[in-house]
């Protein structure tokens, strides 16, 4: 049974996702950041699908369970394309787009192969720990990729504030969700009381942070990245 807080987080999440899409459209960045826009659009549609699924099959149904975890995996894969686009933007001045795309295709292929092998090896207990482990691994790949990107941003002294904030917001999202999944894997008893709140709250964070960046930070804004590293004086 869903509580009022569940519904409140759900509605807020949906509204934030929709407003993020609108902010991308208003700032005329829908095509410029096409994968971000597509991700936000897909996330909004998935939220609507979740509502319909719960209404039709119920919250504790197997159908909803499958829908929730597999739509989440698909959204994560879509986020990989977002990271690829960020890599493309960071390396565009080095004319490395061709290599980035090749690397991206190899990465998506490897992820698909890995997922297929895991699914094949776990055919008999798809419903148990498998989805949690798959989610944890996918998010952790996202964390590693975002961290490498952040390293490249620092090394190349990237100064575009908008790009920096978009990447850091994604890093927060990936690392918080990966940590929550890993904790769930380690302590399943924490899931009903504590950990189940983490993905929806972090799910609000990402579109909210992206929308804020689009609305408040202009494309021309610049920042010295070395100032962002915490150093004790």
């Amino acid at each position: 049974m869903l509580s009022r807080i569940d519904y409140a987080i759900w509605i807020v999440g949906f509204l934030v996702e929709v407003s993020a899409v609108v902010s991308f459209l208003v700032c005329r960045n829908f095509l410029r950041y096409i994968f971000l826009s597509l991700y936000l659009l897909a996330a909004s549609l998935v939220t609507v699908g979740q509502y319909l699924c719960i209404k039709k099959f119920g919250w504790s149904s197997v159908e909803y369970w499958y829908y929730y975890y597999y739509s989440e995996s698909l959204l994560t894969i879509l986020l990989f394309f977002v990271i690829i686009q960020f890599y493309d933007l960071v390396f565009q001045e080095l004319n490395a787009s061709r290599y980035v795309r090749r690397g991206a295709i190899a990465l998506v292929g490897a992820t698909a192969l890995f997922s297929y092998l895991v699914i094949r090896a776990n055919q008999d207990h798809l419903m148990s720990r498998f989805v949690v482990e798959l989610g944890q691994n996918l998010y952790f790949v996202g964390v590693v990729l975002t961290y490498l990107l952040w390293g490249a941003i620092l090394k190349l002294r990237e100064t575009r504030t908008r790009l920096i904030q978009l990447v850091l917001a994604l890093g927060v999202y990936f690392s918080a969700t990966a940590a929550a999944y890993a904790l769930r894997n380690l302590f399943p008893s924490l899931q009903p009381a504590v950990l189940r709140w983490v993905p929806p709250i972090v799910g609000i964070w990402l579109p909210a942070a992206w929308a804020f960046t689009m609305m408040k930070v202009s494309e021309d804004a610049r920042l010295v990245t070395s100032h962002l590293l915490a150093r004790a004086r």
Partner: protein, 137 residues
Amino acid sequence: MIIPVLICVISFALLLQFFVSYCRSVIAAGRKSELSPQVREIAGIRDDKLDEKEFVRLVQLLRLCPGSGEDGGEIRAVGVYYSLLYAIRGFFRPMLPRIARWAQAERESCSYFAAVVLDRRITYSRELLAQHMSGHV
């Protein structure tokens, strides 16, 4: 068992780094803005360097001042960062005073950032009022 532990530890460490860098990028963008005489008068600000404790008071003033609603998320994120810095300062003060001093300087930046947002909201409210008045005239 070892893989989830590793993922958990690495993810938490990187979460902290991403979050701190994100908040610093938001605060750094605000640092470039000069405070207007209006906000200085309303909030009783005398110099450019604000006391770290001013943050709480400025956030209370922010709640009283209507805004366009776009900056709520950033204030919340910086608020979490401000609390995190409090914990860091308290934890490191006896062992590593340099880190405690850094945390204090960061908290002062958070206060300045809150003043910048308050300034933005005051400007927004004034513009809204001016539009309303011109509509009536």
